[in-house]
Structures are given as C-alpha cells and as structure tokens.
C-alpha cells in the first residue's frame, strides 16, 4: 500500500508519519506538496499534524483550499482512504469531509501529553487490528481539539458507530469524549491523537502500531 503524505506550509508531523510508514512498517511513502494536483498513485492519503497556513482564520480553514485538496476530495469521494491526524482532522472538518468542528480546548491551554483512548469501533479499515474496548496510550498535542457537533448530528454519529476512538481522560472538553470519527462510508478518518508519535518503544508507547497494522494488513503484534 502506497501512502501519500500531504505537506502544507506549516505541517510539522509529516516527517514523523513518513518515518513510521517507511522505516517502521517498510511501506512505500511519498510526500505530496500542497501546490501539486497529483496524488501520484497513492492508495491512502494522510493529512498530517501541524499548523497549516498558520491556522489563520480558523484551524484548517485556508489549507482546505490548497490545490492538492481538490484531488484529495475527489479521491475521497471515489472511496479512497484519507486520514487526518490532528491539524489534518481540522482540515477534513473544514473541507466538509467529516462532520463537526474542532473548537479551542475548554481549558484554553495547549495540551501536550499522552492520553488514554478506548477503541469504540474495531470494524473500520483504520482500526481492524484492534478490538472494541481496547485501551491505547497515545500522545496528543493541540490547542483546538475540542470536538463539537450539533445534538442531531451527534445522535446520528453515535448511532451509526462513527465514533472510532474515545478519550478515557478527556484532555480538551470534546463532546461525548470523542477523539476520532469516521465518515458514513468508512473511508475517511479524523483523529486528534498522534499514532505516528507512538509506534516505537523508544517513544514511550508503541500503541500507535495498532493503527498502522490495521492499514497495512499485517497481523497484530
């Protein structure tokens, strides 16, 4: 499986994702520049963490209009797999590819630490190496990760099993402790925690491996 990692001006987790995919999982990976209009045969697009376009106006608001995003939207609408991590999640909500929005953390503080997550849906392409109820320890690093969705939308999201990950120690005030959601057709995932920062024991947790193992089809550890 070939991974394409979008690089916006201000992305800062692009190399972390590249490293894990290429060097930990031995999969082909390529950077995709935000001004390009070609996904170069990518099977799965990652929108990485960072502060794309300085997060001016709103987090992800400007990034969603970069040339590469036209291709990402087209790819996603045809069923192509897209993952937004942290700032990438914000870009996906701004682009309307995922429901909801990410508000400033309720604490008004930037939060940077490991959090505990519970896997709520292990039937998705992004979580199939996990099991429902499994706990993961993965770091977050964000100032605007406070997921919000209107009450009707939230009911639908929960009812359809679109909440994939939930915080056990909510770091940002996110509604229903939501940490990661998937779209209705199951090919677009957004999450605030950073699995790419927790895929090797030297980093203090390798629980992020489950995420990549789900994607590359390998068996669990």
């Amino acid at each position: 499986m070939k991974f394409g990692i979008v690089v916006f001006p201000g992305s800062n987790c692009d190399h972390d994702a590249y490293h894990v995919i290429k060097h930990v999982f031995g999969q082909p990976a390529e950077f995709l520049w935000h001004k390009d209009r070609d996904l170069r045969g990518t099977d799965l697009v990652i929108l990485p963490g960072g502060f794309a376009y300085g997060d001016y106006l709103r987090c992800g608001a400007i990034a969603r209009f970069s040339p590469i995003m036209d291709e990402v939207v087209r790819f996603a609408q045809k069923g192509g797999k897209v993952i937004g991590i942290c700032n990438g999640f914000q870009v996906l909500t701004e682009a309307g590819l995922l429901p909801g929005a990410l508000l400033q953390n309720a604490s008004r503080k930037y939060v940077c630490r490991h959090v505990r997550l519970r896997v709520e849906n292990a039937t998705t392409a992004f979580s199939r190496a996990m099991h429902r109820g499994q706990e993961l320890r993965i770091p977050v690093g964000h100032g605007a990760g406070n997921y919000y969705l209107d009450p009707d939308g939230l009911k639908r999201l929960e009812g359809e099993g679109q909440v994939v990950f939930r915080y056990l120690d909510n770091p940002n005030g996110s509604i229903n402790d939501i940490a990661g959601v998937i779209n209705q057709t199951g090919n677009i995932l957004g999450l605030m925690p950073h699995p790419e920062r927790a895929a090797e024991p030297v980093l203090g947790s390798s629980d992020g491996r489950w995420f990549f193992e789900s994607l590359v089809g390998g068996s669990a550890r």
Partner: protein, 79 residues
C-alpha cells in the same frame, strides 16, 4: 464599497476565550457582565456599484471561507 462582516459563535457552542474575557471583566470590577461571546469583525473593500449584488457575493464568501457554518453565524453589511 465597504463590506463589514460579523462572525459570531452559534448559541450553545462553547467559547473558552469569551469566558476568559468575561472572567477578566468580573475581576476588574464589572460584575454586571454576563453571557459574553467573542466574535470576529472583518472589513474590506469590494469593487462594483450594486450593493445588493455585492452583499450576496460577500455572503457566499462567508459560507465558503469567512465563517464555518457548523459553529458560526455571520452577518454582512455593504455600503
């Protein structure tokens, strides 16, 4: 023509920054302040002569970029 855009958070959407300002006002001796909401004000020039047409263009800008209608309302004035 001048366009003025007011972007405000929808009712019920958490406003941590607004809350902080409200608390500061309270501690500065303005206890009468309540329900404080922090929004955005934008002002820019728009070419053309027809204010009604310009207004509908600016509203389109709001829906596409200036506001996130999942969490924000907007109001446009053109003159």
């Amino acid at each position: 023509m001048v366009a003025r855009v007011y972007v405000t958070l929808k009712p019920g959407v958490l406003d941590p920054a607004g809350k902080a300002v409200e608390q500061s006002l309270h501690s500065l001796g303005f206890p009468e302040v309540g329900e404080f909401r922090l929004g955005k004000y934008m002002e820019f020039m728009v070419a053309g002569k027809d204010p009604a047409a310009a207004k509908s263009r600016v509203e389109e800008m709001c829906r596409k970029l200036l506001a996130n209608t999942v969490i924000e309302n907007y109001r446009v004035e053109v003159e």
